[in-house]
């Protein structure tokens, strides 16, 4: 009864039922992988939220922060002079000192201006405490001055030094040592230059964790994973497609953000583009792996959202996205450097800003590879398909 002429090579069946219909083609080994990858990319493309969070949001963030911290605009020192007998004299001295320095040949203080306001004692101190002024100045009846400043606020410390110098020089102090200064706000050393590689790293982490972790749990919740493993689909193909879809997105993410930095903020790229792309790929795959591990058991979207945030939170804070982790106590640095995002950010900064080669940063690459590799292995071991 079986009209089959070909039997599958792996199995010998006594009397398979006839094939119901003519087949069109034979699929090759990678047909499933290619279709899974393509389907994933189509889905992402058709999801407006993804386009926004992955592509537009980082650009907005870079633009916003880049503008906010533009040129560290002229250190405007905002001080309050406490009303009293000496108040007018103090103002005059500050004025006098400012004129003198602006007529100087050296450009050191050119941008530096002092904006002084006179308020009565209570209002002045209150406004100072709320951070409206960097410094409060009170002239005492005996001709001396009292500065109110906050040693925890850098601008307050700066302001005290500056005002003191201004008042002393207005009072006739002569500099014992002739000095000159050279200003530097070249591209490459500004905040935006620090920021963009950090945003690149953060974006690779975000989209890796959400793109892989969230998508997986959603598919699990929809019973789509179960439906897939009910077919002859290779499970490794599925996980591979999910991860490599991250690589495709990575090229676009990195390209957009980097061109934005270069075109809008004239950020210099010292290292080779190839190194940046390789780093991006390693970062994307590493965080894809961490995302896979985070999502390997979770059954509900709510659970995985919490887990993803929990995993990412320390790295947002410690890994030097918006500010250098050097600000944390030195004793914590070894731990901070062991975080994958720290390694990625450091490597991106070194490559983009300093032109470092990849071979000179093998330690960072190793940190990334270990995180990615270990996550993948654990995820595969614990993975729940149903």
């Amino acid at each position: 009864m079986a009209t089959e002429t070909t039997t599958p090579p792996t199995l010998k069946l006594e009397g398979r039922p006839p094939v119901p219909a003519a087949t069109a083609r034979r699929n090759g080994r990678w047909s499933g992988y290619r279709h899974l990858l393509w389907a994933r990319i189509l889905e992402l493309k058709r999801e407006p939220e993804v386009v926004f969070w992955v592509f537009i949001f980082p650009l907005l963030l870079a633009a916003g922060l880049g503008i906010a911290f533009r040129n560290k605009p002229a250190d405007i020192t905002s001080v309050v002079v406490i009303a009293g007998d000496g108040a007018q004299r103090t103002l005059a001295m500050l004025q006098n000192s400012a004129e003198k320095s602006s007529s100087d040949k050296s450009s050191a203080n050119k941008n530096s201006t002092v904006r002084a306001t006179v308020l009565d004692r209570e209002a002045a101190l209150k406004a100072f405490h709320f951070g409206k002024f960097d410094l409060a100045i009170e002239s005492n009846p005996d001709g001396s001055y009292t500065y109110y400043y906050d040693p925890a606020r850098p601008e307050s410390v700066l302001s005290r030094a500056e005002i003191d110098a201004a008042l002393q020089s207005a009072a006739g102090r002569k500099d014992a040592l002739p000095t000159s200064t050279q200003s530097s706000s070249e591209p490459g050393s500004r905040y935006i230059d620090f920021l963009i590689p950090g945003l690149l790293g953060m974006n690779l982490m975000n989209s890796g964790m959400w793109g892989v972790g969230f998508a997986l749990v959603e598919m699990r919740q929809r019973k789509l994973l179960k439906r897939f493993i009910a077919t002859p689909m290779r499970r490794s193909d599925f996980l591979l497609a999910l991860t490599s879809s991250r690589l495709v997105l990575m090229v676009i993410e990195v390209g957009l953000l980097l061109s934005f930095g270069v075109l809008v903020f004239h950020m210099p790229v010292q290292g080779s583009i190839l190194s940046v792309v390789l780093l991006g790929s390693l970062g994307a795959v590493t965080f894809g792996g961490v995302g896979l591990l985070t999502a390997c058991r979770a059954q509900k979207i709510e659970t995985v959202s919490g887990l993803i945030n929990l995993v990412m939170m320390p790295m947002w804070i410690f890994s030097g996205v918006f500010f250098s982790y050097q600000r944390f106590p030195a004793i914590t640095h070894p731990f901070i450097k062991a975080l994958p995002l720290t390694a990625l950010n450091d490597a991106l900064r070194a490559t983009i800003l300093e032109g470092a080669t990849l071979s000179s940063q093998s330690g960072r690459l190793l940190v990334l590879a270990v995180w990615g590799g270990v996550s993948f292995i654990l995820a595969l071991r614990w993975f729940r398909w149903t």
């Binding site: 009397g15 039922p17 699929n27 389907a39 189509l42 689909m233």
Partner: protein, 318 residues
């Protein structure tokens, strides 16, 4: 080659215990022949889905054996998967892919799939081939789910509650699809809690309750076992002496041609071989007692009656 019938799906003594406590399947054995449409009929929670998922190789039984074409799942999972098509009870396919993309995706997993265009045509989805899955109606989604099961050109089709929640027209369309597959030599195993579906679609079926098969056979066999192919249902007013329920059942059982009696909250249901013998006698008996007949109807006996007789419960009760 062997005899004309051959076993495609076989299981013996299946047991499945969840978390060491809940016994979903309790010693279930089945043999399904090539070309058959076999149904597992039972109420929600009877263990149908657990059973079909064990047969599909998606769940491991706690004990017992499963063979598909004579092979255990552990032996050759990939090869077996090439030969079966599955529609799960609930799968929400990716909403942002089109119907065609979804079918092509599933086709790509099989070594020798059918052309997507043929499947679209056969399942009446051609018009919708470029629509996003999220925009389909319930019936279209269900047809797509079956399409993803058929695109691999399977020998066996597993359908878990294929028509639950569908409108009558969509249900009939799906039945046609199943029949067409069967006509080409395919074997079908489906679960349902609709007795009409089981009756019209299945060649043989097993009635499942509390994880066990309580009856098995062709639909007409099962109905035959009731004794009568007809059901006479009626209500009577109570006579002056009051309660009639207790002794009433015996009274109706004594009427000619009655095989069995049950009282459903005041409605008396008689399983009857020959209604034309029973009804005149029934009218006379009511009359003699000085009571009034409130409703009287006759209908063909159904699998529902079989289930009620076996379990004392209705299929749709929880």
């Amino acid at each position: 080659m062997g005899p004309t019938t051959q076993t495609t799906i076989e299981c013996a003594n299946l047991r499945k215990t969840y978390d060491g406590k809940v016994e979903a399947v309790r010693g279930l054995s089945l043999q399904i022949e090539a070309g058959e449409c076999f149904g597992l009929l039972g109420p929600n929670g009877a263990g149908k889905t657990t059973t079909i998922e064990i047969l599909e190789g998606l769940l491991a039984p706690t004990s017992g054996e499963v063979r598909i074409f004579g092979h255990a799942w552990n032996d050759n999972q990939r090869q077996l998967r090439e030969w079966i098509g599955i529609s799960l009870q609930e799968t929400r396919l990716s909403e942002k892919l089109t119907v065609r993309e979804t079918i092509e995706l599933f086709a790509s997993f099989y070594s020798e799939p059918r052309p997507a265009a043929d499947i679209l045509e056969e399942l009446q989805l051609t018009e919708k081939s470029d629509a996003w899955v999220g925009k389909l109606s319930g019936g279209q989604k269900q047809r797509l789910a079956v399409a993803t099961a058929l695109v691999g050109n399977p020998r066996i089709l597993f359908l878990d509650e294929p028509t639950t929640g569908l409108d009558p027209q969509s249900r009939r369309q799906l039945w046609d699809i199943v029949r067409a597959f069967q006509k080409k030599g395919g074997t079908v195993l489906l679960t349902t809690h609709y007795m009409d579906e089981a009756e019209r679609l299945c060649d043989r079926l097993a009635i499942v309750d509390h994880g066990q098969i309580i009856a098995e056979g062709t639909p007409s066999d099962l109905i035959d076992r009731l004794g009568g192919h007809h059901v006479v249902e009626f209500e009577v007013t109570n006579n002056a002496s009051g309660n009639s329920n207790g002794q009433g059942t015996d009274l109706w059982r004594a009427l000619p041609s009655v095989e069995s009696v049950r009282n459903e909250e005041g409605t008396i249901c008689l399983n009857v071989r020959e209604p034309h013998l029973t009804i005149p006698a029934l009218l006379e008996a009511v009359n003699r007692q000085g009571r009034q007949l409130e409703h009287l109807s006759t209908r063909q006996a159904s699998l529902e009656d079989v289930f009620v007789k076996l379990t004392g419960r209705h299929l749709r009760e929880n």
